[in-house]
Symmetry: C2
Subunit: 219 residues, 2 copies
């Protein structure tokens, strides 16, 4: 499903280039459940953004379902992303003036599914992450862990084949973390591919495979 | 130092009142190192905001250093907060267009200390949290854990007597978490009072006392 070949990612601050990813090669098959681990600043989020088509490598190739994504325009990437990839961001990126329910419904804007069906699915997902009684709350009226769970529900609205979650349990107590990881296990059992970036050992233990990132490359 | 007596905090969404804190009574002495734990949504951040003078109780009393804070105006609270309380927010609240160094220097705007001295202290703090080579980066150019550490350094600029940290290691790997907690232990050994909200057992183990919050009250 995912094939990265000698991927580099370099940023420039003023004139100084910073190599954030160096020679990353990685293969992830459809249906896998992978935990991406490594120290703070090692490149995990950067790698996840490239996999999720939110960023492009500076060098190397990324083949998604056998297609070289460097050949695709920004619009094509965006379409591909919206229908088949669900992304949980490390800093959530919820819309502050919209309710939890409307935040979850956001990816549905580009979906062919009818509105009432999307609404039903959004409510069901919010219930699944324990927020049935918080649907009308805005992000500023939610706890950190509740905001994180809204971001999770949103990533799953379009039932994507690939779910990329950056620290999905970072703000959650152990009981709620375990509930979220069982939800992921269930989704994985339905054939979805899941990649979770996590610092938490307990969270990583739910995945079926671990990939260690260190200093911008795969250890 | 801190004395909460029968504190309530209730919010209203539309017409429905939600009691987020109910009858919270708590005493914390100067120089203590307390871990505040509890499930997601239980009221920890709300409690920390009240202690940090960022929010007011709906009922009950809060005595800070023997003074009833309900008697103080918003300006007086703000002055008190800036000089003697350092706050690490669960979602950091860094200024996106300012560098890490300038973010750390922000509380210095109200300090009587000379600029060069504040600058030296800010650089030292950034080095202490492992970000000596990231001082000129803006928040969008930093990893989640790096942003969290900038927020930590900022909270310590004015050498406050009371440090309140909401999930200070939520985005950090175990090695970096341990470094941050040793830094807190060092600061506590110098007589500062520290209250840390955390979901992480390892982080909580560094504190000298634990307070459990459950359903808006102290268990
Ligand atoms: N402005 C608000 N209006 C209404 N409800 C609110 C508001 N702010 C917080 N709440 C509610 O108060 C409860 C406690 O929130 P708080 O942020 O204190 O929880 P927490 O213990 O810090 O949780 P977490 O561990 O997830 O960060 C939550 O159920 C939340 O929905
Ligand atoms: N836009 C950018 N410009 C320059 N450097 C960047 C940029 N974005 C990220 N970096 C740097 O890339 C490195 C890796 O960042 P990344 O966010 O991928 O780390 P991470 O492994 O997710 O860390 P964490 O566990 O703290 O979230 C960091 O050192 C960061 O400073
Ligand atoms: Mg990250
Ligand atoms: Mg909180």
């Amino acid at each position: 499903l995912i094939r990265l070949e000698h991927v580099d990612k370099t940023y420039r601050i003023a004139e100084t280039p910073t190599a954030v990813l160096r020679d990353v090669s990685l293969e992830i098959g459809a249906g896998e459940f992978v935990a991406l681990q490594g120290p703070s600043g090692s490149g995990k989020s950067t790698l996840l953004h490239i996999i999720g088509l939110l960023d492009r490598p500076t060098a190397g190739r990324y083949l998604l379902r056998g297609r070289d994504v460097s050949g695709l325009s920004d619009d094509e990437l965006s379409g591909l992303r919206n229908q088949s990839i669900g992304f949980v961001f490390q800093s959530f990126y919820l819309i502050p003036y919209a309710t939890a329910l409307d935040n979850v419904l956001l990816p549905g804007l580009y979906s062919p599914a009818p509105q009432h069906q999307l609404r039903q699915r959004a409510e069901h997902l919010l219930a699944q992450v324990g927020l049935a009684d918080r649907m009308r709350h805005k992000p500023s009226q939610l706890s950190g862990g509740q905001q994180q769970r809204v971001a999770l529900a949103r990533a799953m609205l379009n039932d994507p084949d690939l779910i990329l979650a950056d620290e999905p349990t970072g703000q959650l107590d152990s009981k709620t973390s375990a509930e979220i990881m069982s939800l992921f296990a269930e989704v994985n059992a339905n054939g979805k591919t899941i990649i979770v970036v996590t610092h938490d050992e307990e969270t990583a233990s739910h995945a079926k495979r671990r990939v260690l990132v260190q200093d911008g490359t795969i250890a």
